[in-house]
């Protein structure tokens, strides 16, 4: 079928496209024309009026937890993809800390198979070490062949410098980055950021230096081996400075930040609400300011949600016993627009780079093209709509978000990918007549 997207603003920073109130014609989910649609071609097309909306290359979240296999009560590949589509994402990379861990080709294929019919592209990140134990590197060649795009022991840092070295050396044969959850295990026995708030709340604390030490170790090892390091969910001022300096030296380092780390601080923990318990923990205003600066100057390459679904019963417990993490796929775009674009910290083009272009580049994936004959991979969002987050409406199986009832400006309207469209709660097959 043909669809006609009318009165939409089209932006593709990579291709230097910036068209105001234009028309896009798709035929069976393939781009027919952008900007110069003539009436005879679009006569029998289904029309969508997207006035005031932005059409950009489909958003990509390179750090999410799909929980399948193992914790299907919290999320499955399909429900996670539904959540991604609802949040405006057409592609995701999922982390390997499942049960079993993603350390064999079979598990990679299992996840890809589960997502094979979905609009959302799913790229598994495989474990860097067998069982994420930090002892022996995983069978990286086989994992890459099965479809893994990066390696990580996410949840923890790779345990020792020697295994880290082997992981860099081996992964580098396939140009695959090592994604690190940077945290020195011996300093990591805490439930929130160490500071005046942890003292006042009497909670065991996790010092920011635990992150900085591993960021530093990993940068040094990336330099030594020539490997590629991607710092997951960066959260401290010192780590941002370390990444900035390393980039200046030409070391192959990239970094991501979560929306919660640029939106709220450890002041939020004063409620002992377990929905603000995450790892890395919420930090201080000084860290938040450094993160915004790092986003602006390019030190931080992308925004990733660290979407971490948890069951109600696990989160409904004492703060220090509750699991870490929050769901994020359905609030990332709204928080990014509200906190970064509307507060004039980033331009819309910079945001699209961080939410769509850069994560794909880091993972060696093709950036969606906006030319005739390419498969349409679009996110269409309304940057100005004001809405209230309602966790009961989340497509994710889990509801653990600290942003419930928060007012946000900007929301996804539709996504198009793999000849499918998700719009207004409906799945539309673009190949039907």
């Amino acid at each position: 079928m043909k669809i006609l997207l009318k009165n939409v603003d089209v932006i593709h920073p990579e291709e230097k496209i910036n068209l105001k109130s234009t028309t896009v014609l798709l035929d069976d989910g393939v781009i027919s024309n952008i900007g110069n649609v003539n009436e005879s071609d679009s006569s029998n097309a289904r029309e969508f009026d997207f006035s005031g909306k932005l059409l950009v290359p489909g958003l990509f979240d390179m750090h999410i937890h799909l929980r399948e296999p193992g914790r299907e009560d919290e999320e499955t590949v399909v429900t996670g993809c539904n959540s991604a589509a609802a949040g405006g994402f057409t592609g995701v990379a999922c982390m390997p800390n499942t049960e079993p861990a993603v350390d064999t080709a079979e598990v990679v294929k299992f996840i890809k198979e589960k997502a094979s019919d979905h609009l959302v592209d799913v790229y598994p990140v495989a474990a860097a070490s067998l069982g994420r134990n930090g002892e022996i590197i995983s069978p990286m060649a086989e994992l890459v062949e099965a479809g893994a795009v990066a390696f990580s022991d996410d949840g923890v840092a790779i345990k020792t410098s020697s295994v880290l070295r082997r992981a860099f050396e081996y992964a580098n044969m396939y140009n695959a980055p090592i994604i690190e959850h940077c945290e020195d295990e011996s300093l990591a026995d805490g439930a929130m950021n160490e500071g005046i708030n942890s003292t006042l709340l009497g909670l065991p604390a996790l010092p920011s230096v635990a992150e900085d030490i591993i960021v530093n170790r990993d940068i040094l090892m990336a330099e030594y081996t020539g490997g590629r390091i991607h710092i997951a969910h960066i959260s401290t001022k010192n780590s941002v400075d370390l990444v900035r300096d390393a980039k200046k030296k030409g070391i192959k380092v990239t970094a991501e930040v979560t929306p919660h780390h640029f939106t709220i601080t450890d002041d939020a923990v004063k409620s002992y609400d377990t929905n603000v318990k995450m790892n890395p923990p919420l930090r201080t205003q000084a860290d938040l300011d450094a993160i915004i600066k790092g986003l602006k100057d390019g030190t931080i390459d992308c925004i990733a949600s660290d979407h971490a679904p948890h069951s109600i019963e696990e989160k409904e417990s004492e703060f220090q016993f509750a699991p870490n993490g929050i769901v994020g796929l359905e609030t990332t775009l709204g928080l990014s627009l509200s906190e970064l674009v509307h507060k004039k910290k980033l331009t819309i083009e910079e945001l699209i780079n961080k939410l769509s272009i850069n994560p794909r580049k880091i993972l060696n994936l093709e950036v969606p093209k906006f030319d005739k004959g390419s498969l349409a991979n679009f996110t269409i969002f309304d940057p100005e709509i004001v809405w209230t987050v309602d966790i009961s409406k989340f497509k994710s199986k889990s509801k653990n978000s600290p942003f419930d009832k928060r007012l946000l400006t900007g929301k996804s309207v539709a996504v198009i990918n793999r000849q499918k469209m998700y719009y207004d709660g409906q799945w539309i097959d673009l190949t039907t007549a």
Binding site: E194, I196, T199, G202, Y272, F319
Partner: protein
């Protein structure tokens, strides 16, 4: 005089007038404890649950005695370990107990914030009997009361809290309570046991025990935890005792009177030498007696608020 809150979760933010009211009320109950018949009918018909998620003999007995002397019906509910190991969630346990129609809950828990969480899921008055390394307000109140009774004032008094400040709920509650009442507060202990940001609370940090003795009117000496985990914070018991233990020799060297408190139980020969623990400066057992009066005051003030 009524209190401004229907719960006692900690002393952070509790107004001076409330602390004053509790201390004054405790005075009344302290007199009752000296009578041959120590029981009053004040809370007759009220049911109070002592919910102890962490073993504690003296705090629980102190609360239970306070409840019984106020003629309340006291029920003890002790669960060792966290709710996770128990199998039933904290919330379900609370909901079950509340379904049995209780008026007040006294809670001790290894997790900071558990008493606050309790106030959100049940309608009873909640009293914190110690949560993690957060607060232990009735202990601090009885310390304040004991100091006030012995010295006659709190305003302008110099008080030093000695020991493992970072892992002590007694320290934090004492800091808040003492500062609200106008005392000048310092802490003394090995640097590994002092929170990095403690000075933001307006307390001085001292690392020399002789200086702490010399500069202060009162020492509140905390128990040093000897379990394996706590032991990571200092090299050896011998070294702790030698450099931070209070001995008679150290007190004599100072030459002036000093008041010594200890929340108990004491590690004799570690934070206090036996001579000091039994000596004329300490008021350890006096604190224990006052503990019952303070808890009676808190229970009475909260229990008759509604």
């Amino acid at each position: 005089m009524a209190l401004s809150s229907r719960h006692l979760l900690g002393l952070q933010g509790v107004p001076k007038e409330d602390i004053q009211t509790i201390l004054d009320t405790a005075n009344t109950f302290r007199e009752i404890l000296e009578r041959p018949i120590k029981k009053v009918p004040t809370l007759q018909g009220k049911t109070i649950v002592n919910l102890f998620y962490e073993s504690s003999t003296r705090t629980r007995i102190s609360f239970e005695l306070a409840e019984k002397r106020l003629s309340a019906d006291a029920i003890n509910f002790s669960i060792s370990g966290s709710s996770v190991s128990k199998g039933e969630s904290f919330k379900d346990t609370i909901k079950n107990i509340e379904a049995m129609k209780v008026d007040m809950v006294v809670v001790r828990h290894s997790a900071a914030g558990a008493p606050l969480y309790l106030t959100k899921i049940c309608s009873s008055n909640v009293i914190n009997a110690g949560d993690g390394t957060h607060e232990h307000p009735t202990q601090a109140l009885l310390d304040l009361y004991s100091i006030r009774q012995k010295v006659g004032r709190l305003e302008g008094l110099k008080v030093c809290i000695v020991g493992d400040i970072a892992h002590s709920r007694v320290a934090l509650s004492n800091i808040f309570g003492l500062k609200t009442m106008g005392a000048k507060v310092s802490v003394c202990g090995p640097s590994t046991m002092i929170p990095r940001d403690i000075s933001e609370l307006g307390v001085d940090v001292i690392t020399d025990i002789d200086e702490a003795i010399q500069e202060n009117d009162v020492l509140n000496v905390l128990r040093i935890q000897l379990e394996r985990k706590a032991r990571e914070y200092f090299p050896s018991i011998r070294e702790y005792a030698k450099y931070f233990g209070i001995t008679q020799e150290r007190l004599d060297k100072n030459g002036k009177d000093i008041l010594i408190l200890h929340p108990g139980p004491i590690n004799r020969g570690v934070e206090l030498s036996s001579e000091v623990a039994d000596g004329s400066s300490q008021i350890i057992l006096y604190q224990v007696t006052n503990g019952v009066a303070i808890r009676m005051a808190v229970l009475y003030l909260l229990g008759t608020l509604n």
